[in-house]
Every structure is written in structure tokens, then in C-alpha cells.
Amino acid sequence: MRIFNWLIPVVISLLAAILIWHFNLRTIGYVNLEQVFNSFQMKIELQDTFDKTMMRERKVLDSLNFEVAKYQAAWDENRTNAVLYENLSQLLESAGQRETIQQARMEQMKLEFDSQIQKQLAQYLNEFGQSVEADILFGIMDDGTVLYSSTGADMTSDAIQFINDRYLDK
């Protein structure tokens, strides 16, 4: 029985030492996801494509609405012209349909881009984690979920560089 008196503390101390050694070896870092996302070249490119498509669609819609306004003004002046009324009705319907289709198309485009960015970003961040031999890489938001960290733990700028190089295959 006496042997346990000293063996148990020794085993416990040994286990504690192993645990401390193990956790000291771990590399833990974090990246600010919002900054990474905003600086991701793919996101910048797709946003540009989206904005240009949106602007193009908007122009078509604006010209249709201009036509509607023209017919509306003519109709307001002469409310007995049946042909004018017919044309105005058709234009209004056409503009309404166009706007609905456009909204649906843009929403669909947004969802597709959203998913594409997410897939590539997640992949490259994972590869980044491997490249820096991190055991755990946290994603944080701007409002702050890390209360304290050493400067080395913030890997945001390195991650941005890495994901953009990977995306552009540099």
C-alpha cells in the first residue's frame, strides 16, 4: 500500500506534464473572416460582374419605364383613345414582368456567387491552415470574439495573401 502513496502523485504529475507539453506544442491562430472575405479577389471579381449585370438590367428597365411614363402622360391628356390605353396596358404589363424576372434572376445570381465564393474560400482557408501547420484556426468576426491574443495568433493578412495567391494560381 505504501507504494501508492508516492506512485499516484508521480503519475498525476507526469500526466500533467504531458498535457502541458502537448498543448504548448499546438499552433492556434485566427483570421478575421470579414476582412478575409472583403479582400478575397474572387469576391471582388464576382461583385464587379454582379454590379455590371445589375446596371445593364437597370438600364433596360429604366428605358421601359420611360416609355410607360410617356404613354401615361399621353393617356392623361386624352382618356378616350382606346389604342393608347391598350398600348399603355401592354407596356405596364411588360415592364412589371420584366422587373419580376430581373429580380428573380439577380437573386439567383447572388445565390450562385454566394455559394461559389464560400466553396473556394473554405477550401483555400483550409489549405492555409495546413500551410502554416496550424492545429486549429478560428474564424472571428469584426465585433470581436477573441479577448486576448498574442500578435502571432492573428493570421488575417497572411491568410488574405495566401487565398488570393491560391485563387489566382500564383
Binding site: 474572387m42 454566394d114 466553396k119 474560400l121 482557408l125 500551410s131 474564424g139 485563387y167 494560381d169
Partner: protein, 217 residues
């Protein structure tokens, strides 16, 4: 941060939330297998003195810059610059052992620049067109797309110019291999001003939703 002002908050938050859900990245496992950046000038390096076997080996070695690959999600994209000599070897078969014949044959392909793209789903053994398939109509849509429209999603960037791909071929393999093999051809005449410059082939993956994928040669 936003695509659309009215959708700013929801769009951004949704995406960041999705990323945050994968934010705890366990980063163990295999290391990254990236290819070294290539020297564009070496792409057209004449290796006519090599035997067919040696030439094929030289071309497929990643370090020589002819092959670039990327894994995104469950899909691996492997892009290769196909030299005119390689086209000649494929075209001639065993006759390509005759180096002079091979050289002459390669001249027939000099008017185009070829890039091969192989798409594979990791661990998926069936025909790739059936991967993440929603319906039979979806399958037919993929057949149509790879057969007739895939070239519209390929671009070549060189020396500040962006060149559309006018033609492509798709090797229909059915269940024989579990990958999609596309070959894009770009007119060499449009590239005459950037012969020794780096090429960037961009393919936008619509079928599996990975978006634009860049390959630098």
C-alpha cells in the same frame, strides 16, 4: 462587402455565418500539393530530340509547368497545356516515334493553342455527370453543356488580352472513366503578341458550382 445595397446585411451575414460554421478548421492531415509556378517561356521549349515516351514524361511532370491542378470542395480540376508536339503524338500513335514525322505533324496544330481540363470528383467512381445529380433532366442538361457550350466558360488571358474560346471538344466516355475531359482551343494568331508571356486559363465551373478557376502556365 455587398452586392446589392438592399441585400447588404442578409447577404453578407449569410455568407460569413456559413464560413463561420466552418471556421473551426482542423488543419491536420495531408499537406498541400501545389505545383511550382511555371516559366512561361519553357512551355514552347522544343524537345524534338526526345523519344515519344520521354516527351510524354517531360510534359506530364508538374515541375515543368504544363500541368496545374486545384481541388475545390469535392472536385479536382486538372488543367494541362497541350503542346502541338503532344497533339502530334496523340494523332500519330506509334508512328510518332519517327521524330521527323512528329515534327511535321506538330506544325498542323500550330494555329491553335490547346488546353485540356480534366474534372474529377474525389472518391466518386461512377460517371462524373451523375455526381450530385438532381434529376434526369439535369443529366441531359450536363450532356448538352459539355457537348456544346463549355467553351463559352473558358477564357485565356495573355499580356493584358482576354481571348474567348471559339471551340472545344469533350471526350464522351460514359462509364468508362469517372471524369470529364475537355479540350479548349484558342487561335494562336490572337496570341502572337504575347508568345513568351505567362498564360492564364480561366474556366468557370457552372455544373458543380465552383465558379471561376484560374490556372497559370
Amino acid at each position: 462587402m455587398q452586392f446589392n445595397l438592399s441585400m447588404t446585411a442578409t447577404w453578407t451575414n449569410r455568407l460569413i455565418a456559413a464560413l463561420a460554421s466552418t471556421a473551426l478548421l482542423a488543419c491536420g492531415g495531408e499537406s498541400i500539393k501545389g505545383n511550382a509556378p511555371s516559366d512561361a517561356a519553357s512551355l514552347n521549349w522544343p524537345k524534338s530530340n526526345l523519344t515519344t515516351h520521354e516527351y510524354k514524361e517531360w510534359v506530364t511532370q508538374a515541375d515543368n509547368g504544363f500541368v496545374r491542378s486545384k481541388k475545390i470542395d469535392a472536385i479536382t480540376f486538372k488543367a494541362s497545356y497541350v503542346t502541338s508536339e503532344m497533339k502530334a503524338i496523340r494523332s500519330l500513335g506509334v508512328a510518332a516515334e519517327d521524330i521527323e514525322l512528329r515534327r511535321k505533324e506538330s506544325e498542323l496544330f500550330a494555329e491553335l493553342e490547346f488546353y485540356q481540363l480534366t474534372i474529377t470528383a474525389n472518391g466518386f467512381q461512377d460517371e462524373l455527370l451523375k455526381f450530385q445529380l438532381d434529376s434526369q433532366e439535369d443529366y441531359q442538361g450536363r450532356v448538352q453543356y459539355y457537348g456544346f457550350y463549355a467553351n463559352q466558360d473558358a477564357l485565356l488571358v495573355c499580356g493584358g488580352d482576354t481571348i474567348n474560346c471559339p471551340v472545344h471538344t469533350w471526350e464522351r466516355t460514359y462509364d468508362a472513366i469517372n471524369s470529364v475531359v475537355l479540350e479548349f482551343a484558342f487561335p494562336a494568331a490572337t496570341l502572337k503578341d504575347c508568345l513568351n508571356e505567362q498564360r492564364e486559363m480561366i474556366y468557370t465551373d457552372r455544373v458543380f458550382g465552383n465558379g471561376p478557376i484560374h490556372f497559370r502556365f
